[in-house]
């Protein structure tokens, strides 16, 4: 058969496409459950990291998550709870969610070993090169930060990427989101500087001004939607 005839070429291309498509689909289908599990476990680990819990081993991530993250909910911008399943909160994709006019506001409820309850709020913002995201755990007084977790997709290693380090994240522990009843968030300031509005602040990573600023903005922009919800928490704990 003539290798350069049109029919041969078209047949060749068609067979190749079908073959390759079949092989890829097969690989994809057989690996998909494992991949989804990995992605979900990664998210679980991030949420747990915000309340300072690390699963003992990779395979126990699911069990640890079930043990500590006892509930989840979606709230609306007035603070009312619209959905009380953990699954609904877990399935919110923040990268899509932040672009919506009507944001869904997921909250994870964690019960720790000492019986205290923490509320974990997902965060999503922009760093220097791409998105940054994370979780912030708030005490049941709706004001004090219990722990945070940040990560990123492509910040400069050794500079912006250091937002993933515990040394940076630990700074947020115990900081307060409100001052004299007003929501102030937590500022990320260059070492030695203080915010003018009297809000709580932490030290930025030196050399990574934009990523650090991104973390500060992300906290403010994401948590402000939860303000009514946090108010309710603080009212409840004052009673």
């Amino acid at each position: 058969m003539n290798k350069n005839s049109n029919i041969y070429q078209i047949l060749y291309a068609a067979i190749m496409v079908v073959l390759v498509g079949a092989v890829l689909a097969l690989v994809y289908m057989s690996l998909k459950p494992r991949q989804d599990e990995n992605i979900a476990n990664d998210k679980r680990r991030q949420i747990l990291a915000a309340v300072h819990i690390a699963p003992p081993t990779e395979s126990e991530t699911g069990a640890t998550f079930d043990k500590y993250v006892t509930g989840g909910m979606l709230v609306d911008s007035l603070g009312a709870v619209v959905d009380t399943t953990r699954k609904a909160a877990f399935e919110v994709d923040m990268s899509k969610n932040v672009k919506q006019a009507q944001r869904q506001l997921p909250v994870f409820v964690c019960t720790l070993d000492d019986g205290s309850t923490k509320y974990v709020i997902p965060l999503y913002g922009a760093g220097l090169w791409g998105p940054i995201w994370g979780y912030a755990a708030v005490d049941d007084n709706g004001n004090t930060v219990y722990g945070t977790y940040f990560t990123h997709s492509g910040e400069t290693p050794g500079l912006g990427a250091r937002i993933t380090e515990p040394e940076f994240q630990k700074q947020f522990d115990g900081k307060e989101l409100h001052k004299e009843g007003a929501f102030k968030s937590i500022a990320v300031m260059k070492k030695g500087q203080k915010p003018l509005d009297g809000s709580d602040y932490v030290d930025a990573i030196s050399g990574a001004t934009i990523t650090s600023r991104g973390v500060g903005d992300m906290l403010e922009q994401c948590i402000k939607y939860y303000e009514p919800f946090l108010k309710q928490l603080s009212n409840r704990s004052n009673q």
Binding site: K3, Q9, V27, L31, R34, Q35, N38, S153, G158
Partner: protein
């Protein structure tokens, strides 16, 4: 199995015929994944896998490929293999797949691959093609690892994530060189490697 010629095919790319240093191919991805040692090693292994298998596949079907759509056939084979590798990484080494990010996809346009397919696999039997793929992959990985070694050591004071520069050095005023982790230093590191290699191999030097 390893005749003299096959040995040359396998080992020449490690030094005298190194794809990165001498043939100046595949620079694109060499540099972006070399900030840390671990992603560099995984990237190198991925390239070896893709290269060896695409060489074998193309070599097996080399007599049936219509010359006019040759490039497209090669691209499809390579792209399919890269997707397979990528899917396996997401399933079995999720953290590293996050670090490598889009660069695993960019293996497709790694010039070493297309270069070897064109220059070797299309004219040779599967076994030598396999060796050629592995050899060139190793040559590529070697450079990745050398560059990543220096960048991680000098830039972060760690190797494979473990602290190797002792604390007392920092106490006495040693500081990690933040410059090393920035993109431009990858280029300068490769230039230094080229310098060393060409100083030893006089016949590789270019006339200005």
């Amino acid at each position: 199995m390893l005749s003299k010629r096959n040995k040359e095919v396998l080992f020449n790319p490690l030094s005298k015929d190194n794809p990165v240093l001498v043939q100046i191919l595949g620079i694109c991805s060499t540099l972006a994944v070399t900030v840390k040692l671990e992603p560099a090693i995984v990237m190198g292994l991925s390239v070896i896998t893709v290269m060896a298998f695409s060489n074998v596949i193309i070599s097996l079907i080399r007599k049936t490929i219509p010359t006019t759509i040759r490039i497209i056939v090669q691209l499809v084979v390579v792209a399919a293999l890269v997707i397979v590798v990528q899917q396996f990484l997401v399933a079995y080494d999720y953290d590293v797949s996050l670090q490598l990010n889009v660069f695993i996809g960019l293996i497709i346009t790694n010039c070493i691959l297309m270069g070897r397919l064109e220059a070797f696999a299309l004219n040779n039997k599967p076994w030598p093609s396999f060796l050629d793929g592995v050899g060139n992959g190793l040559g590529y990985m070697l450079i990745l690892v050398i560059v990543a070694f220096f960048r991680e050591l000098l830039g972060s004071g760690t190797l494979l994530g473990y602290q190797v520069i002792p604390q007392w050095c920092y106490d006495h005023g040693y500081m990690d060189n933040g410059m090393m982790i920035l993109p431009p230093m990858a280029l300068i590191t490769v230039a230094c490697i080229i310098w060393v290699q060409r100083a030893r191999n006089k016949d590789l030097q270019e006339q200005a």
